[in-house]
Structures are given as C-alpha cells and as structure tokens.
C-alpha cells in the first residue's frame, strides 16, 4: 500500500489510511479543531493523490476505527454483502469515482452495489468529488421506502413538518402542524422534538398528532423525537407511533455518549416492527451530523466526514424510513460558514444515498455560524437538484425551541415550483382533494389553515 505522493518535487508521506482520509478532506473547522486536517491546500491535494490510488479492498482492510475496538466496524465488516463487494473491490478510489459518474452507471446498479460498500469507501469517494460531482451521483441513486406513504420516488421532494414548542404545549404544536399541512408540508413525517423527555409527554403529543391525521384522513407518518428508550416506554403505554427516532453517531464511543448501542437500537427496531402503527415495513428515523463524535472526544483521530459515513453504516441495518443530517446545527467550531455547511450537506446526502439510505437534510444554521439567509436558500436548491429526499419545514424556518434557522413552510412549495417536484403520491392526492395544491401550483385552499380541521 503506497502512502506517499510527490507534488512539484516535494514528497508527501502519510502514516496511515486514516491520516490520508483526514488530510484529503475539504477544509472543515472541526478537523482543524481535532488537529488532523492538511496543513495547506497542497498537502490536501497530495493526500487526495494517495487516496485516488488506494483500492476499495485496502479501505475495507483499514477501517478508521479498528475491528477490535468498535462495534460499528464489526457490524459493517461482518454484514457486508460479499458478492456486491467483490464487484468493486479491485477499483481504486479514483476509478470508483469515475465509475460512479459514468452515464451508464444508473440507479439500479448503484442500488445493487450499495450493500457491498463500507462507509469508508463512500467517504473516500466524496473527498475526490466537487459539489457538482456529489450532486450528480446523489441524484442518480434510487432509494424508495414505505411506511404509510411512499417516499423517495423520482421527481418528488418531501418535507418533515417540525412544529416544535418550548414547553410542549399541545395546542401550540397542533396550530403549527395545521399551518404546515396547509402549505403542503409534512409528507415525510410530522416530527416533534419534545422539550420534556418523558414517555407520558411523548405519548400525549403522538395521540394529538394521530387524531389530527385521522380527522383529516391525511396520509403521512408521525414521530416524537425523544430518546429511543423513552419512545419504547411510550409504545408500551399503548400510544400510536408510526416511526421510532434516534440520533446516531459514527463510533461506538460516540453512541455511548448518546446513551445507545447497536443492541438497544435492535430492541427498538423489533418493538416498532411489532407494535408500531405504520402500514409499511420502514419504521425507523435517524438523525446524524458531522462533528458529533469529536464533540464527545470519540472520533479516534478520524475526520468528521468519514465518521459521519460510519453513522450511515449503522443506520442502514434498521431499514429506516428517514435519515437526515442536521448539517448546520452543531455550530461553527465544526462547520464554520456557508461554504462548509453547504459542502457538508452535499457530502452527507451523497454518502447516505450511496449506502442505500433515504437521505434528507436539515439545511440549517445557528446564529453564531457565518451563514446568510441567502446562502441557506441556495443550499436548499442545491439539495433539491441533488435529489434530496426531504427537507425540514417550520414557521418562517424558525425553531422556537431549539433556536436555529431551518427550512420554512413557505420554502417547500417554493422549491417544488422551482424544481418541478411533487410530494409523495399519497400526500399529493390528499392535497389535491383538500384543494391545497393542484398539479404544480397552489390550489384554492393553499395556506388556509381552516382547510385542515
């Protein structure tokens, strides 16, 4: 395995595959904070030159966290589809990038190869790709999942309705959820981050949303994003629950800081399969985000893009209905500004889709990051063009509990008009029936909350 390259007569040597992966990463403040990034742009390209010549087999044999130290590495290694792996193992990362970009490499082929890819392979390819490369391949991937509705079909752009409230006032949550539905938002899920992490509160919110959806015969899913153990208790209380949520990270140690493990997720998965109320087989919802492992000092010296891909490697075991990266929420010490947040969003979408996940994105910023509202709006268009499965949606994009800026109820219909996209077929039919959205534009009841009882 060759870990050195030469640029203009200067030889660059790297100590490990992990170091090559880290130094090949585009600039990220989180990698600087971890002290693992390339010292300048030339060393970054030198690392990419090394990476381009490593084979996918070498990446499998050199995971960024050793097999003995980490259950995520073990699960990925032990459960990899050997036939799919063998089809691409001989390719270098540079060749793999070219194969992905080839017009003849279409969605069904990418779907077939996904189970044979390790997270490190997806991360490595992203490091050799520009934003357009990431979008081109992301848009080709086919990932279609089904709960109460069918998510991820071509030409569709869905949204999570996120009617959060700082004190879990159910009437306040319902008012916001109704407004969201009246703008055609919420076909991916109506998902609430609760302020109070108790089973009773989770159950109370779920019952209220369940009533709202059945009263209006609205075909979507509901979820309350409390800790998985809390949702399991709520499910045991006998409340309706379409999707079970959990935040996940890319190393065993980082997940420990979240209070979870693969076996706990397996328990949750089995419980929602047995007792969940969704009609379809995909019933899990995961959120991720670059930098979460470093924030709990659990990154093992690996860069935040590669660690992020490993979270997807864990998520795919549970056949989720939704996975999204909460890309700008973590703050400027991990993603400093608009270009870094936008790049990370496109990387995460690409890596997740390539690994076979229904990737959405919470395109967002906190108010101490250097990102403007215009940059955020641009990012939503990039994600829509890249085939992102869903975005969030909130009143004016303002989360009154979590204090950050995301996608708004007005942004989703705007994007659908700009990009000629539709919601899920089931939700599309409901919107047409109620008169909120007809064809490719607003219907007579668009924005009219009284249309949603």
């Amino acid at each position: 395995m060759q870990l050195a390259s030469t640029i203009r007569g200067t030889r660059y040597r790297f100590g490990s595959v992990t170091e090559v992966l880290a130094k090949a990463n585009p600039p990220k403040s989180g990698d600087d904070l971890a002290g693992i990034s390339a010292r300048d742009a030339v060393e970054r390209v030198a690392a990419r030159a090394v990476l381009a010549n490593l084979t996918l087999r070498e990446l499998r044999e050199n995971p960024v966290v050793p097999y003995e130290q980490d259950e995520l590495t073990r699960l990925v290694e032990d459960e990899l589809d050997d036939q799919a792996y063998k089809a691409v193992a001989h390719l270098t990362v540079g060749q793999f990038r070219e194969w992905l970009l080839d017009i003849d490499t279409a969605g069904p082929t990418l779907r077939a190869v996904a189970p044979g890819l390790t997270p490190e392979m997806a991360a490595a390819a992203s490091k050799l790709m520009s934003n357009f490369d990431l979008m081109t391949v992301g848009a080709k991937c086919q990932v279609v999942v089904r709960a109460n509705s069918t998510l991820g079909l071509p030409g569709r752009l869905s949204s999570r309705c996120q009617p959060n409230h700082p004190t879990d006032d159910v009437e306040g949550i319902l008012a916001s959820a109704r407004e969201g539905l009246a703008y055609g938002c919420g076909d991916a899920v109506i998902g609430i981050n609760p302020a109070t992490d108790t089973a009773e509160s989770t159950a109370e919110i779920l019952r209220a949303i369940d009533d709202l959806l059945s009263r209006n015969r609205c075909p979507t899913q509901h979820c309350v994003l409390s800790h998985v153990t809390v949702q399991m208790k709520a499910l045991e209380l006998g409340c309706p629950m379409d999707l079970m949520f959990q935040s996940v990270a890319g190393t065993e140690a980082a997940n420990k800081a979240f209070g979870i493990s693969a076996s706990l997720l397996q328990e949750g998965y089995e419980l929602i399969q047995a007792k969940g109320t969704a009609k379809g087989p995909n019933r899990m919802y995961f959120e991720t985000g670059q930098g979460s492992a470093l924030s709990s000092a659990a990154h093992h010296g690996a860069d935040q893009v590669t660690i992020e891909a490993r979270a997807y490697g864990l998520a795919r075991r549970y056949k989720p209905f939704l996975v999204n990266t909460v890309v700008g929420f973590i703050g400027p010490e991990y993603l400093e500004d608009g270009p870094q947040i936008s790049r990370a969003a496109l990387e995460d979408h690409f890596m997740g889709k390539l690994l076979g996940l229904p990737m959405g994105c919470d395109a967002c910023f906190t108010y101490h990051a250097s990102m403007t509202q215009d940059e955020l709006e641009s990012l939503k268009v990039l994600l829509g063009a890249a085939g992102c499965t869903y975005l969030m949606s909130l009143p004016v994009g303002d989360d009154i509990m979590l204090n950050y800026q995301s996608t708004s109820y007005h942004d989703i219909p705007t994007l659908r008009r700009l990009l000629h996209k539709r919601p899920t077929p089931e939700f599309d039919a409901w919107l047409d029936e109620v008169g909120i959205w007809r064809g490719d534009g607003p219907g007579p009841r668009f924005g009219d909350v009284e249309a949603v009882r």
Partner: protein, 294 residues
C-alpha cells in the same frame, strides 16, 4: 438550423408583451398575526410564539414579514458579533479576567481555548480573589456580550443578595471575556469555591439576542462534565426576570452544598418549583421590531 430558428419565431422568439392591466395595491399582510382578523391566529397566539397565520404572496412572504424577519436575524447576529467593551468589568465592580482566546473568530472556532484562563488571568484570580467562598459567581460574555452588558450586572447582584439571604458567601465578583461554560471549573477550583456559577450570554435565537444562561456546578474542577451541571436559561426582561432567576439559582447552590453533588445526581424533589427542574426554560415572548415612521 434555419428551419429550427423559424419555428422559434422569425425575429422575436416571444410574442409582444400584453397591455398592462391596472395593478391594485395588495391587501396589508403583517408579521404579527392579527388575532382580531382570524380566529385561528387568536387561538394560536394563546399557545405559541411560532409565526403562524402570516399569510403568503404566491408561495413567499409578504414584505412586512420579510422586514421583521430580517430585523430579528440582524438582532441575533449583532448579539453574537458584539464584544465586551474594554474596562466593562472594572467599571461595574468586577475583577476582569479572560480566557486563552485572543480574537472573536478564535472564540467561535476554539471552544477548548475558551474553557481555560490565560496566564495573567490565572495570576489575577490567585492574587486578587477571596478564597474558599461558598459560591463563586462569574459573569461572562459567552455567545452574547449584549446579554452580559444588559443583564449581567443586575443578575449578578440579585444572585449575591439571594445567596446572602440563605447565609451563603459569594467571594469576589469576576467578569470573564471570551468565556465558555467550562471556564467556571478552573476559576472555581483556583479560589476553592464549594459551588461555581457562571452567568453568560446564551446562543441567540431569532429576535432574542439578550438571554443569559446560568450553569452551576458543585466542587468545581478542571474536567467537570456537563452531566455534573445544572442550568437555567432564557434569563432576561421578557423571559425569566433576574430576581426570579436569582432565587432559583441560590436555591440550587444551597441544595448542592447540602447534598454535596450537582447535575444528574442532585435531588431536585425537595426544591419543588423554586428550582424549576434540571434545565428550565420559560417560553420567550415575541416582539415586533420594525416600526414604520408615519
């Protein structure tokens, strides 16, 4: 190719623009939903500060909504970008210290440096501060120097009074620049405080750049984790007012000294509503920011 051009129209590929009809002014749409105009807005306003019932123009916002939104965003960004004025600490009766951070950008990017005192400040704390207080109170800029200058002094003084009412000593008043929460660990450790309490500007939300958060830890020492802290957020004139927050904070400090612990292991049951739970947040109140001069 010529045939293709002809098919697209001979000279001008678009037909002539139509005659303009009269363009009436659109109806007024305002940012703060008008409860008197809509039963939904009235009902919603009793339960949430989320901006619902604001209407739309096409699929976008009305002009008034755009302006109010931009004003809220600007207030948040201004709060993040502000720095404590030179001499603010001394002018307000505090001993001034600073973290190892040397610039505002570095403050945002290097939380590790914001958690430790620079050498001169360490010396200041060692030589100028009363040792072994029950509670060491520190006011700090955190992510909103605006919140610190607006409410920091008032909250500090209220906490000192509330602690005194419980017979707790509070040591030398300290104000810290470029400070993260964990800076309380080093300061508290150096002065030998039983409890350290940092009152610092919180990450601004839309239109709310002036909130303070308080983080309290028992037995402060470098290496304390967040699980060992209790916190109260949203302390400002339109959230939890400083006097109420101070009563809660003094009650928390007293309970920590009594139980010799803090954070997840602290039993709040005996405190009841006064301490407001491990992390208490009162709902914010939304203000209209832009007024049009007539």
């Amino acid at each position: 190719m010529d045939a293709l051009r002809d098919a697209l129209g001979s000279a001008d590929p678009l037909p002539p623009a139509p005659a303009l009809p009269p363009i009436p002014a659109p109806p007024a749409r305002v940012y703060t939903p008008r409860p008197e105009k809509s039963a939904f807005a009235a009902q919603a306003a009793r339960h949430t500060t989320a901006l619902v019932g604001i209407g739309h123009v096409g699929t976008r916002y009305a002009t008034d909504v755009v302006l109010q939104f931009q004003a809220e965003l600007a207030v948040a960004h201004a709060a993040v970008g502000a720095e404590l004025p030179d001499g603010w600490a001394e002018h307000n009766g505090f001993v001034g210290v600073r973290s190892r951070v040397t610039s505002h950008r570095e403050f945002l990017l290097r939380p590790d440096l914001g958690r430790r005192l620079d050498e001169a400040s360490l010396e200041t704390v060692r030589t100028r501060c009363t040792r072994n207080p029950d509670v060491q109170v520190i006011v700090a800029d955190g992510l909103s120097a605006v919140a610190c200058t607006q409410t920091g002094k008032a909250l500090h003084d209220a906490v000192v009074r509330a602690c005194a009412a419980r017979g707790l000593s509070t040591g030398t008043p300290i104000a810290a620049r470029f400070a993260r929460v964990w800076l309380e660990d080093e300061i508290g450790q150096e002065v030998g405080a039983k409890v350290a309490m940092i009152l610092l500007g919180e990450r601004p939300g839309l239109g709310t750049g002036d909130g303070l958060s308080a983080y309290v830890v028992y037995g402060p020492k470098i290496g304390n984790t967040d699980g060992e802290r209790n916190m109260i957020s949203n302390i400002h004139a339109r959230g939890i007012v400083p006097d109420d927050a101070a009563v809660r904070l003094a009650a928390l400090a007293a309970a920590m000294i009594d139980q010799k612990c803090s954070g997840v292991t602290l039993d709040l049951g005996r405190l009841g509503e006064v301490a407001g739970g491990r992390g208490y947040r009162a709902p914010q109140v939304r203000q209209r920011l832009v007024e049009h001069d007539r």
